[in-house]
């Protein structure tokens, strides 16, 4: 019999139905052009904000990671760290000169120990040359600073051990300082004033570029000893110490040794938290990246909420659309559509709406990110990683499925006769 065969043979494969549903979903979205855009507005805004924020944050992290690459992987940085409980008591942790001396003398397998002393008062940052003056960051650093950090003088020379010991009034300048003070092209040998002291310029540092929109070349290096002398109250200054571990396999061992040494120097009892941090260059990058991920996660949360709102918007309009198209659904059922056919059709329409919203959102978000990065002076260019695009698409589709399923189920359950009778 003719149709017994028809009953037993297979329907078109799933791919076929998917394609057909896609075709009619496209028709329907196009038929309601403006309304479709309004419907997916929630998704558009959600995806747009993710992409805008992610593109800016990723641009930053990209640049920062490049900056930290200068630090070798065998470098350790020791700095003070005030635990939360101590901070509440009004105490401030410090890493002192004595600590550095102790590390230098009593820890084995390290070399190139270099202190970094940051200027601690406002006046300290004022520098001048002839009639020009400006503010710059002033650091006191040891002779190994250049090697450990991978930045070198472009002209002139670095610091010698003697400069440090004799506290000579010599300095190295960052490129911006040279420009700001309108110094000659080769200022080596010129005299220049840091705070109240006259220093002789012995070199100019190579350009480091910008980080987080701030110039990294607006600085003056002094020998560590000299900087301590200028600061006056030499006892209690908080410094950072950088050092290199000779055998990279003994990194952890050296870290432990330094920790134990500092704990006993600082008189910490076994229950107390460390009041310092010993970090590898990777950990420095990591802690920065952690900040980045925290921002990204926070943004993700906000976006999650806006996608939820967007999803509910889509569900709402889809429910309206199912009601509007009740008769159409009845016709399709009379022509032989199964529940699955109707379900698939509405589900695909919801997903497609979300995806269209996603595409618009990605384009707008990228535009905003690029615009913001271009407008903020010195900001690194926006960067949209592939995972953000993939994630946006994934989320959009997910929202479409989750919030499309109820309207689609409602459509598919309609009784054909009731649906055909619907006015």
């Amino acid at each position: 019999m003719r149709w017994r065969k028809a009953l037993t043979d297979e329907r078109g494969p799933l791919m076929f139905m998917l394609l057909e549903s896609l075709r009619s979903a496209l028709d329907s979205i196009r038929a309601h052009g403006f309304r479709s855009v309004l419907t997916s507005l929630g998704i558009i805004i959600g995806v747009m904000s993710v992409i805008a924020v992610v593109s800016i944050v990723q641009g930053l992290s990209h640049t920062v990671n490049q900056q930290f690459e200068g630090l070798g992987s065998n470098t350790l940085t020791v700095r003070s760290y005030t635990p939360f409980r101590k901070a509440l008591q009004g105490q401030v942790a410090k890493l002192r000169h004595d600590d550095m001396t102790a590390i230098e003398q009593r820890v084995e397998g390290i070399s190139h120990v270099t202190p970094i002393l940051f200027a601690q008062s406002g006046t300290q940052g004022q520098v001048s040359y002839r009639s020009q003056d400006t503010f710059a960051q002033v650091f006191g650093v040891g002779p190994s600073y250049f090697e450990v950090n991978g930045v070198f003088p472009e002209s002139g020379r670095g610091f010698a051990r003697d400069d440090d010991l004799r506290r000579r009034l010599v300095c190295l300048l960052g490129q911006d300082v040279v420009e700001e003070l309108e110094m000659p092209d080769n200022p080596v040998g010129e005299y220049f004033k840091v705070g109240a002291e006259w220093c002789k310029v012995i070199g100019v540092m190579e350009r480091r570029g910008e980080l987080l929109g701030f110039s990294q070349d607006n600085y003056v290096l002094l020998p560590y000893g000299t900087a301590r002398r200028i600061q006056g109250t030499s006892r209690d200054l908080d410094i950072q110490v950088q050092l290199q571990v000779d055998d990279i396999n003994r990194m952890d061992e050296v870290k432990d040794r330094i920790s134990r040494l500092l704990r006993s120097n600082h008189g910490l009892k076994s229950g107390d938290d460390d009041d310092f941090r010993v970090q590898t260059s990777e950990q420095l990058t990591e802690s920065f990246n952690q900040i980045i991920s925290t921002i990204t996660a926070a943004v993700g949360g906000i976006v999650g909420v806006s996608l939820l709102v967007g999803g509910i918007g889509i569900m709402n309009i889809m429910l309206v659309s199912v009601t509007e198209r009740t008769r159409e659904i009845g016709i399709l059922k009379a022509l032989g559509a199964t529940r699955q056919d109707i379900m698939l059709q509405f589900l695909i329409e919801a997903v497609l709406l979300c995806l269209v919203g996603g595409v618009i959102g990605i384009a707008l978000g990228y535009g905003i990110g690029a615009f913001a990065a271009a407008m903020l002076p010195g900001f690194p260019p926006a960067h949209v990683p592939a995972w953000a695009i993939a994630l946006s698409f994934g989320f959009s589709a997910g929202v479409g499925i989750i919030f499309g399923i109820i309207p689609a189920a409602k459509a598919s359950q309609l009784d054909p006769i009731d649906a055909l009778r619907y006015e």
Binding site: M1, W3, R4, E20, A334, L335, A337, T338, L420
Partner: protein, 245 residues
């Protein structure tokens, strides 16, 4: 399978359709026995509310009887699940409605192509078949028109083309000329007559005696029962125009 049931395309035995409205029961169909054979041309007539549409919906597998047995080409429809019913509607039944029921946003061609989608037929083949079907009802030059760009008669032709495109065993028409003027009614009836001459089984609901006069057999319903079932000896011979068969 007996020779008798093999010949019957449709076989009703004690078919009833009851609606429960609170404590009141409406017997839309009340125990109908009926056999319709291949290539019959049947009119179902009766007063308003006598159960004509209910019967058509059950024949077309849009609805199920609450009692009794319905066999379609020897298959027990009562035993079929939802998907099997959808498949029967898609392949064995062609529906024509009083209010046309075209998809409003699809042009004539797409409307006619639609049933073939559910059959898994590829786009090119669908187009070709739909075009042929539209030509058969005399609308080969209106394929791109949307329903609201067509006259009532043209819309009903599109609906007929759509019902026929899948070569169904039975063409069901529930007051197909109910929304048409008399001149267009004549055109549509000519089309049905021609389809019948070409071998199509047709069952049609109508109010009007002149329409019923086109059919070979007239069944009159009264309160959900068959009150009269007779051969139409004074059948109006239609001119087989506008359809080639």
């Amino acid at each position: 399978m007996s020779a008798d049931s093999a010949e019957s395309v449709i076989r009703f035995r004690g078919v009833a359709r009851r609606y429960e409205m609170g404590d009141q029961v409406v017997n839309a169909l009340d125990g109908v026995d009926l056999d319709i054979r291949r290539n019959e041309y049947v009119a179902i007539i009766g007063a308003s509310g006598s159960g004509k549409s209910t019967m058509m919906n059950i024949i077309g597998c849009l609805d199920r009887p609450t009692e009794g047995e319905y066999q379609l080409e020897g298959h027990d429809v009562g035993a079929m699940n939802e998907n099997e019913l959808a498949r029967v509607r898609n392949r064995e039944i062609g529906f024509v409605f009083q209010s046309f029921n075209l998809l409003p946003r699809a042009n004539a061609l797409k409307n006619v192509m639609q049933p073939l989608v559910f059959r898994g037929i590829k786009l090119d083949d669908r187009k070709q078949k739909a075009r042929q079907s539209l030509e058969r009802v005399g609308l080969g030059d209106r394929v791109d028109h949307l329903p609201n760009q067509l006259s009532g008669g043209q819309r009903q032709r599109v609906a007929i083309a759509r019902a026929l495109v899948g070569e169904p065993a039975i063409l069901l028409a529930d007051e197909p000329t109910g929304n048409l003027d008399s001149r267009t009614t004549v055109e549509i009836m000519r089309l049905f007559d021609a389809l019948h001459s070409a071998g199509q089984t047709i069952i049609m609901v109508t109010h009007e005696a002149d329409i019923a006069a086109h059919c070979e057999r007239v069944i009159r319903l009264e309160d959900g029962r068959v009150a009269e079932d007779h051969r139409n000896n004074t059948r109006r011979r239609a001119l087989a125009e506008g359809a080639d068969g």
